[in-house]
Subunit: 157 residues, 2 copies
């Protein structure tokens, strides 16, 4: 059985990997906010991610959402014993409201995606696509930004 602390431990290891290998993630001061096996959340402080207007830079919002979506797929695969390279293929981003404070991103599978179909395709073809939804939640429950992205996983030789 996978426990909550197993999930958090794997997510912490992934954050260490990201911070050790992606300089821009260090510059953004990305950190883990939470992971329960279905939802992955990253956080970042406003100051290193600010724009000329004093709110969050769109590039920081989309970078954090993309990394969070990528992390969800990476963790989901590792927890299922799969060793894959995962790439973002495309994304659609909506910037809905300015973000004036430290922020976080939350990634889940998109409504039309599921792990079973993704793994079946990966097993039969060695490669598969999965769609992830990510958002930057605000205090009132609405999203300040959303991303819907497709990721490709390829089994390592």
């Amino acid at each position: 059985m996978t426990t909550a602390s197993d999930h958090e431990g794997r997510a912490s290891a992934l954050i260490d990997f990201i911070l050790g290998n992606i300089p821009l993630a260090r510059d953004m001061q990305l950190r883990l906010h939470g992971y329960d096996g279905e939802r992955l959340a990253f956080a970042a402080p406003l100051p290193p991610n600010v724009n000329d207007k004093g709110c969050a830079f769109g590039g920081s919002l989309v970078s954090l959402m993309t990394l969070c979506g990528w992390g969800l797929v990476e963790l989901g695969l590792r927890e299922r014993g799969e060793d894959c390279d995962v790439f973002v293929a495309d994304s659609r981003v909506d910037y809905l409201a300015p973000v004036w404070e430290d922020f976080r991103t939350v990634a889940t599978l998109a409504a039309e995606s599921d792990w079973a179909a993704f793994l079946a395709s990966l097993h039969s073809r060695g490669k598969a696509r999965i769609e992830v939804r990510c958002e930057v939640p605000q205090a009132d429950g609405t999203a300040a930004a959303t991303l819907q992205a497709r990721f490709v996983a390829k089994r390592r030789a």
Copy 2:
């Protein structure tokens, strides 16, 4: 008459503004590659923008393309005597090939957009949308990534 050096001078001033006000743009080591009044190009070195695979981080590519698109709209408005706040509203990004070296982004208006209609809407409503296309060109002429984004300009009070 606006000369080539007028365009470059305005674009250089915009780069200084970006580097002075957006920490992540400094971290990315963004610089001006060229501007002729219709096409704006930014460049960035690979090392600060690398990912765990040794190629360009998707967040860096989308950030540079988004900034380049924003810069094109900002410069076009300033050259036409307009004082506006410009925001990105939404974007569609396609990641087509990995980028293994220093890279640049080139922004132009999207085929369905033109300055005349944008300015007419801005004059009548104080607010207007314009669509920009941006890409990361490769040596063979194809794009490693493309972005199509809508920007909103609002006249400053």
